[in-house]
Symmetry: C3
Subunit: 259 residues, 3 copies
């Protein structure tokens, strides 16, 4: 199993133990394999990525975990997911939120990625003996989407999608937005945040303006949006992060003009 085992698996587990004892957690460290095969990468990981990037104040560790998990799930990186689910739990992401993130990304990156992620999550939940009532949040009243924005969104789908692909328009309006986006197990801001991360991870710029605006309407600041792109450069690679920059710029500029 070594071939596909997570390079982070060991370290994050030991980090958790320290957290349980209430001590400040040491930074995660890659496995000894990484040190031996790619010593320079090991140094970048400990000194730059965990030693510096994860500690930048522009984005909270919990947000960094949310977007890292979204990037890993939506690009099918299940081999590296295990350590980051543990780190996410340590950073304050609730088990029910991890479950909701995976469910959300079934729609935003395809069922196969979500199925693989669910199996990894199940392992960690079992290992940490997380009770079922922390995984399923108790049934809450569905959220109400902001009616003017929602009417505008629906009109766009009807104008652009209904005539060409009526089934897709139907599921977009009546499942994605009337059901998934209204579930209360993620805040609208967090749901937007992971959607933006998933779009950047998949190199899908076309829907990024809509979801970035939605994220900012839901409370994401410009500084945080820029830091999402900076953080993701390390998790999805420089090219996809760089391609997101002009989209951010256009969205920021358009919002300036609206004021």
């Amino acid at each position: 199993m070594k071939l596909l085992a997570s390079a982070f698996a060991t370290l994050c587990f030991s980090a958790m133990v320290d957290a349980d004892q209430g001590m400040s957690r040491p930074d995660p460290k890659p496995s000894p394999d990484v040190l031996e095969a790619t010593p320079q990468l090991y140094n970048y990981t400990t000194e730059l990525l965990f030693g510096e990037v994860w500690k930048r104040e522009e984005l909270a560790p919990r947000d960094r975990s949310l977007i890292t998990l979204a990037a890993l799930v939506s690009s099918g990186q299940s081999a590296q997911l295990s350590g980051h689910i543990k780190l996410g739990l340590d950073n304050g992401v609730k088990p029910s939120e991890i479950s909701a993130l995976i469910t959300h990304l079934a729609f935003y990156s395809g069922w196969p990625n979500a199925m693989s992620a669910a199996i990894v999550a199940r392992q960690i939940f079992t290992e940490r003996q997380i009770p079922a009532d922390q995984i399923t949040s108790p049934a809450k009243e569905p959220l109400t989407l902001e009616p003017v924005a929602e009417a505008k969104r629906r009109a766009l789908v009807e104008a652009n999608v209904s005539a060409v692909a009526p089934g897709l328009a139907h599921y977009t309006n009546d499942v994605l937005f009337a059901d998934l986006w209204r579930q209360a197990d993620l805040t609208p801001r967090d749901r937007s945040l992971i959607t933006v991360a998933a779009l950047i991870a998949q190199g899908q710029a076309a829907q990024l303006p809509f979801h970035l605006n939605r994220a900012m309407d839901n409370g994401l600041t410009r500084t945080q949006a820029a830091e999402v792109v900076t953080h993701l450069a390390f998790y999805v690679g420089w090219p996809k992060a760089m391609s997101a920059v002009p989209v951010l710029k256009d969205v920021f500029d358009a919002r300036d003009k609206q004021v």
Copy 2:
């Protein structure tokens, strides 16, 4: 091995047994891991995806299996492939067609995806004791491509590719179209269908108009083409499906003008 085992593996096997007994098959169900880690995703899978989407009349179950397999192979989802090869066989895709699909996608999504898929296919073929003569279709006369369309296609490659990358032009003309597309182990319509699915799965819009037109020339209807996109939204994620919609619209509009 749990980490990367298919979430569908168990259920599809039990489904097969029922098929062997000539009874109507129950819908596939995800593994208990999915139920425990992501109960909401489990519900969407059983009620929405298998309970409704797979049963929509716009596209036959065999076609849905073909495009699902094409999406899984071409996006490197070998962890989820096993269950869908079984489901494909149950839905009437022949072993020789699965073999031809994998071979075709070596060219359309790269050798590594095809190699990984071949190993999974071999496991299922062995498990189901499929004899070798059902995997290799007996040598048939190669298909003849429609000469006018083929001359036009070749002229485009010569105009756009030959001067820049002569090797790529050579293999495109003399292997892809003079050999692969002429093999009789997939009908031209099915070969086009899986090519379209692979392009959408990889987010590659540039070649989609050519192959969508080819698929429609080979018999795919507009309703079916739209349903391909709708079905694939669930298997490759909403963003890639939504990005295919304007391409579909343009192709439909251009074909209207031709008439």
Copy 3:
């Protein structure tokens, strides 16, 4: 573990043994599983891919290994990586270069791909008993980047990225180019070559003109650049290769005008 084992693993190992005895190496062959499940793909692999494409004179076997490894790492194909690391070593890629390639692609395709690749590399290095001093090249003086081109590049980042995402601009200038690109464990030409391959493999056309020009400034010829695309068609699929052709054409044309 069969599910995700490399289809090339066996053959490349046997190829190595022959190389150790100073005999001309036989072509790699896929595993028997590929022969049984997809006999036509097996034939294409032995006759076309290894029998012909890898032997074309437009690009040396060592270059072909570099771009194949870059394509596999940057598209997360860790299941097929093992055989190609062995083949790369046989083709003259040094262990320290493989280590540097993985480190470089952490930045150009994201940490998760590099972490998974490091674990595979560690296995092969152990298996071949490669000593640590061949993996870490002895500390060398950092390379000096050509100052005019570097000033121009930095100005572009400051104009386009700094105002929108200052953190990303900082890491681009002060880590990527001031540190990673200056490391002497890969020649600038090889570092450019694997960057170009990673961009094509990820379908990221936006940064391709910059890096293709840089590769050609670093010594890559037009014939070699075209052959990179031709070779990669087989490893990342025809669609991504075809999408790179107009970018190549534009870069070639622009360089003609500069003269």
